[in-house]
């Protein structure tokens, strides 16, 4: 197992902040168009983390208009330029698939208030380096559309496409 860790260590990045399900994150994703590269931002709620070590992926859900969009990011993919944690959410489970059925006000997540909650809350909010197994996963992030009710839609491009890299 030692040697396996050694290899995973070469893949795992330490510039990815720590976050868990329920947190709102902003993923700066490198998009290649022809030979130009730009950075796209994708901001949403983490509803799932799976895998460990180099294979870890996170699913980020956001509402684009009234259409739900989910993207799966390999956490240590070189396409990820940066991840910012913009909000810590207070949730009671690690997989938030129930959010898919909820709309509007019901789909809100309560924000974790500093100082309340677990003793560690402070540290968490600062986004410590990922001591825990953070992994990234193989496939280039796929976007998956979760239509509301039965409405299936195409994956939306982000409206605020961003700065040049």
């Amino acid at each position: 197992m030692d040697k396996l860790k050694l290899i995973e260590q070469t893949v795992i990045r330490d510039d990815i902040p720590h976050f868990t399900a329920g947190d709102t994150i902003n993923v700066h994703y490198r998009v290649r168009e022809g030979d130009k590269e730009r950075i796209q931002q994708y901001k949403g709620v983490v509803i799932n983390e799976r895998g460990s070590g180099a294979n870890k992926t996170v699913t980020v859900r956001k509402m684009s208009g009234n259409i739900g969009v989910e993207r799966i990011f390999p956490l240590y993919s070189p396409f990820i330029a940066k991840i910012e944690v913009s909000k810590k959410g207070k949730v009671r489970r690690s997989k938030l698939f129930y959010l898919r059925k909820l709309r509007g006000k019901a789909a809100r997540i309560q924000e974790k208030v500093k100082g309340q909650g677990p003793v560690q809350a402070d540290v968490d909010i600062d986004g410590q380096p990922p001591v825990q197994a953070e992994a990234e996963s193989p496939k280039p992030a796929q976007a998956e559309v979760k239509g509301q009710g039965s409405a299936q839609a195409e994956v939306k491009e982000q409206p605020p496409a961003a700065e040049e890299s």
Binding site: L4, L6, I7, E8, V11, A54, N55, P74, P138, P140
Partner: protein, 214 residues
């Protein structure tokens, strides 16, 4: 064909130059000792015998120990031959390391002993598809092999008929995997895709891209 002996460590994934994630098997390659060099004149064919993974002298027979002494090596667990592999510049008793034989991008074949599955049915063992439906009067035939032959004409079951039995625990060769990465200091080879056998199992890795090495 050139090659080396390795040990399966496990699987993980890495990113390639284009940022794609590739599933890889991590193979540990201890330096392999050349324990014998066979030549056309003396043995009728050309080959190199490699040995890797030390074992205790106590558990080695005197005959084997004598063989290893000739190469000036301590006893090894896994000994195997590579036909028509002529490592130029290497002699009896020298050690071959990963970078001597493999470079990134090479195509390799990997031989290992598959995981033993015990006594298995025909679906797991021979990829049969089972019998019939879940309904229409069938009730316990979902994984059955079905008919095994004809009627009074042959009046027998043909030899080699695929049936349930012990499966796995046999030599399996996976062909045309490619070398994804090499870590020379830690003697590790990353090969795309899966490889037969359990973690910790011994593997024989052939390099198809090169017939011998310089």
């Amino acid at each position: 064909m050139s090659g080396l002996i390795g040990k399966k460590v496990g699987m993980t994934s890495v990113f390639d130059d284009l940022g794609r994630s590739i599933p890889v098997t991590v193979i540990e390659i201890e330096p392999c000792v050349i324990s014998q060099i066979k030549t056309e004149e003396t043995d009728g064919y050309n080959a190199v015998q490699l040995a890797a993974f030390s074992k205790r002298e106590k558990t080695t027979t005197k005959a084997l120990k004598g063989h290893f002494d000739k190469a000036g090596s301590e006893p090894k667990k896994y000994v195997t031959e590579f036909r028509d592999f002529i490592p130029e510049g290497f002699e009896l008793g020298d050690e071959l390391t990963v970078e001597d034989v493999f470079t990134v991008g090479d195509l390799v074949d990997v031989v290992g002993i598959s995981k033993g599955r015990g006594f298995t049915g025909v679906m797991k063992r021979h990829n049969f598809s089972g019998v019939g439906d879940a309904t229409h009067g069938q009730h316990d035939r979902a994984r059955a092999p079905g008919a095994i032959g004809n009627a009074s004409d042959p009046s027998r079951v043909f030899k080699g008929k695929k049936m349930p039995g012990r499966s796995g625990n046999e030599r399996v060769k996976i062909q045309n995997l490619s070398v994804a990465k090499i870590f020379t200091e830690s003697n590790i080879l990353l090969v795309t895709g899966g490889v037969p056998g359990r973690n910790g199992g011994y593997l024989k890795i052939f390099n198809k891209s090169k017939s011998d090495i310089a």
